[in-house]
Symmetry: D3
Subunit: 261 residues, 6 copies
């Protein structure tokens, strides 16, 4: 099974870190292909960074080898529904995967994330995924994403402290880490906190294997059907659906005709 | 990995059918142990049947070999939280697993279940799992659970017809099958319907493997902590927590003392 | 009018205490019959204790004199819907009754309960009963249920302190006591707090009288219809619906035939 | 126990009808006092009629004998919170009482009401009382309120037909009648429909007895505290709180001073 | 364009203050007519004051010059739906306008209001207007409404302090002022707080101009249709719909006949 | 006042149509600048089209004359929050504006939109904007967006028919048109339907004028603060925040430093 793990930001050291986590949990038969977005922001810390990261995510799905599943490795799950339109292979977001995983092992969880300004993005996802009753609170540490790459321990200490507050103040029973860049902290945090600590990268890899293993593919009826063939203009002209080298060998024009009739 | 699949009703032919599905999707390294409840109803079709099925579910977890994960193989997920209290190994319900799986491949789904009277049980689970915005409707076929065991095709036809209504009337983009006894219908339905058809048994097996593969175990902080040691009386005296042969080698009395201090 | 008040735990001193409260508020024509569960836990402090308490609750409804109404005297309302299936006489839970009562005399309330681990059970009931906008917060005192039976005043002081926090921090306008074992504290707390303090036992007795007085009986259409006749196996064989000495003189087999036709 | 049943519209024949229902269900020790609003609309069929009915409701509470409880006999529960401010005796609305009663005997209900234009008023109450998951649908018959007073059976037939649709289409398990003027239909409908049919007048009388029997009075902390003493001008000058002959012998001015300090 | 700004309390100095705000923001072609309620409370600080203020609001709409739009200048939006029934000219509440305005410039806001007892009124409006996810918290200052008229700065300081808490504790990104009497504080608060501060009077004036500018008028289908012609009795006899000098030159009796046919 | 109306699709005839509507409702002092996206899809009919349209929206805000407000002229409101980050001038989406406008003149509305596959996009917005209780239903006509440009009347007839169903089946009291390309139909539909028909383009223009007229600008505290300065790579390198010619003369680097300290 080929799983393509896409880092929607352009920082390859972060991709490598995610890759380490992914390979650690992957099943024997799973091959993880790493991809770092080739366009957009070095870190995603707001609606603007996130909206522009979708182009890079789409590039990685529309190009190269066909994967059995794709993972969007940023806790905002940027471009998730758009990505699901252009392939029938399952596409998973790491925020989505982490929250779903948490509900299997705890009645409640809190999310510990990076900058305060990204907290609202997580709160929107909590509602969108129906996790309002499971998620006690989204907590920001105000640690910038790229500080997670540094060797010093200030960021780690801030994250640990916020997790401890989640346990004592929110009475959370599990912790969801709100950034792909935190995936290397799982083990240490779990030892310190004695509750499940959930990293979205690991969760997405295992759930991708699970969904593929069930033989499920993205529904092509309704809003996730392949994009309708139409003209695209300007610097995005190459993104016209009919021109996309869609991995699924789909003839979009024929499909659209069929759908209309 | 040892996964114990527990049928909370006492009909062993249904257990066998679930077992077939489970083994078909299980990973190479997973061993499925089947268990049919030894007490309670031949089929679970209401709150009463369901409430009494919990005893049999607990028996299967508290006895025999220790499993790495447990699956409760009835679409009402009976005893799920109670079961999670008595072991740190992950416990999954098939309704829970099926609904979560559906959200990874479709924006919306409808549930097609058995008797009208069980529809409310599914509706409660939909709310409890935060699936209100994903689940368009719960549809009953009024096929009794044990009719699913018969060889004639009346039940199958009724289920197919209800699935088709789910697509045309609810505009559902995926179907969740609302009974473990329907797990052998998945392939045929999927071919007829051209949308993802999700069976909870398969979903629970794959998600159990996934959760174990992430190294996650049930949180023992909060409501899912081991039951407090205390006296149990009468015909349930043997269920006193301290007497349970808990698979996790936990000394409940010591644990309780520690928690209090 | 005969009202059977069932204590789902096996501690008869707690039953007596509930009985005192019940008799104090009961109308002249009401006769309260007390029953202490003969199987299960000495106190109910978690999902496991609760799930196993249902057997004892069902025993008390299926046996002895027929009552005009039944009350389940534990704040988790264990087995409420199962109990409603096996009799047409109204069955009330004390959590349900207390919360409904609170809404008639205050715009908001907080629940003050026992162990932290039971808080989630109350929170689930709050949502299940549609009380999210009325209930400001569920507060745990970490007083074990059976400590409420002791004569010393430590538990009482802890409960009073938590109630006071509910008023000052949550701005609650009424207090709902989250354990049947607290029913003897109502008067003292009300004097100290100057807000309505609601005990579920009293509320359930008065609402049972009210429902019976309206001539209402449990709906036998839909999910609360009598259980379908079917085989029950093993140690629960005697619970097979057809064998239940149902108080309502219902011939379940005939009924089921009628329903199917 | 003195229970004052206030008809917020000015049609005394409707008051008499409610009175019949109330007296039929009232306990031996309860005395029902009937009051017909002396100002406002002959029937309440919209927001405008309803808003203006509050004056008459307040008049009936602020005048005459002090009652142990008050009932507002219109399915929109007009002026409920305002009424609760000016007395500590419990005040119940019939919509509120009917919906709460329904939840004790059925998992779901539908409301059958009068004019289509009043449906939204009921829908607002459903949300306000947290009944969204219990109430399957509000159904209008387009029978004007005062047609319920006529002797011919057209209105009755329309109501019965709509109730039947509620059972077959909504799968409702109980019916809540959405107008005080329907209270005389309960028995006939219940016989025809074989499900609980709930009339708010009966429910409110029995719940008023229950609340008084529990010793509960309206919380005077928070939004339901007595109105602050202040000047009232113009044709409503007599409604200035300090001038109200409040039944509770409260000195509002002194109270307000106490509250501020 | 004629916009009638109605102060539902009887304090004309407050009307003047609102008028200043209204005229400051009004477009060149808009004429603001001020009206102070001629009956009811000097300030509206609870359900009782609010319910009785509706009479005065209706008087101002049913009398005098016909306006193109009406504004109800009290943060509880008293009588909003009743007012919408009696005219097709748009009617706006200032709470409604302020909350909607806030969502256009911030993802979240907190409301800072007067007395603690009015907080629940605002919380009800938040839910009623669908603002639960935008409104982080309603904060009371316990400043009485009429203290806002005084020249000393105690009230202002209390309001500023509460706004600052809204930013630091609630992480609100905008402030909604919860009383028409605070409209003169907007500028000063905005300078101090560096976030949008929204006053409902200004918002309602601009949105009234906008709605009129779009050519929209209140829907006369459904619950906001003109009141049905019927008898009104007692001191409210003059409010009978047929007798109302409705600004819209509507013949209610003819209309009702048409609707019925 | 300068209002820039951005068509996120690349079809300039649709921009012209929107412009006609915008100019018709704009106030005397408002100048409407039209912009057609220079990159992306000719019509936006799915998540993929929508996600890629954000680039063109951002281009139009980051370039050219500074506007006092921006309008995103597509009913999915693509890029709304991203756009709000890069300018303090208010940015409005037409779906958002239309739904808010509807709540001022009707208690309920239905949305009539284009392709079935876009229905889910509207349903997400309904929830995101808190309109669940106002919006009765989203109805798709299966008219492709660009068919709205054709001269024949097939599309118009389909839309009228669906609006009529919204009135009779959903009991909607107003219609919200779910596509910018329908803005020329408003007048005709309103005449035929006799309920308010709301077009988002007109609503957004008037609300933009209103928000600017209140002196409100987008909150720069929290998630809508200017994007943090950071490197952008590849084909999106020019979108690095520090390099954006932001209309607000903001020095992002200095700002970020200030925020951190």
């Amino acid at each position: 099974m080929l799983i393509k793990l896409i880092n929607p930001n352009t920082t390859s050291t972060m991709t490598e870190r995610m890759g380490d986590t992914a390979r650690t949990v992957a099943a024997a038969g799973s091959k993880i292909i790493l991809a770092t977005s080739r366009s957009g922001a070095a870190s995603i810390e707001g609606h603007y960074d996130e909206a522009l990261s979708v182009v890079g995510v789409i590039d990685e799905i529309a190009q190269g080898e066909t994967a059995d599943a794709y993972i969007i490795g940023c806790f905002g799950d940027p471009g998730l529904l758009a990505a699901r339109e252009i392939t029938a292979s399952p596409v998973l977001g790491i925020a989505e995967a982490a929250m779903h995983a948490a509900t299997f092992v705890a009645t409640s969880f809190s999310i510990v994330t990076t900058l305060e300004r990204t907290r609202i993005i997580s709160e929107h996802l909590v509602r969108s995924y129906g996790m309002q009753h499971h998620c006690r609170r989204v907590r920001a540490t105000d640690v910038p994403v790229l500080d997670l790459e540094k060797l010093d321990s200030t960021a780690d200490a801030a994250i640990l402290a916020e997790c401890q507050k989640a346990l004592s103040e929110d009475r959370a029973e599990a912790i969801v880490l709100g950034c792909a860049g935190m995936s290397n902290l799982v083990e240490r945090l779990q030892q310190r906190l004695s509750v499940p600590v959930i990293d979205g990268v690991a969760a997405a890899v295992k759930f991708a294997e699970a969904i593929v293993g069930m033989g499920l593919r993205t529904s092509k009826v309704g809003d996730l059907a392949y994009p309708l063939p139409k003209a695209y203009a300007g610097k995005l002209a190459e993104y016209a659906p009919a021109g996309l080298k869609l991995r699924d060998n789909i003839n979009l024009a024929a499909l659209a005709t069929a759908v209309r009739s």
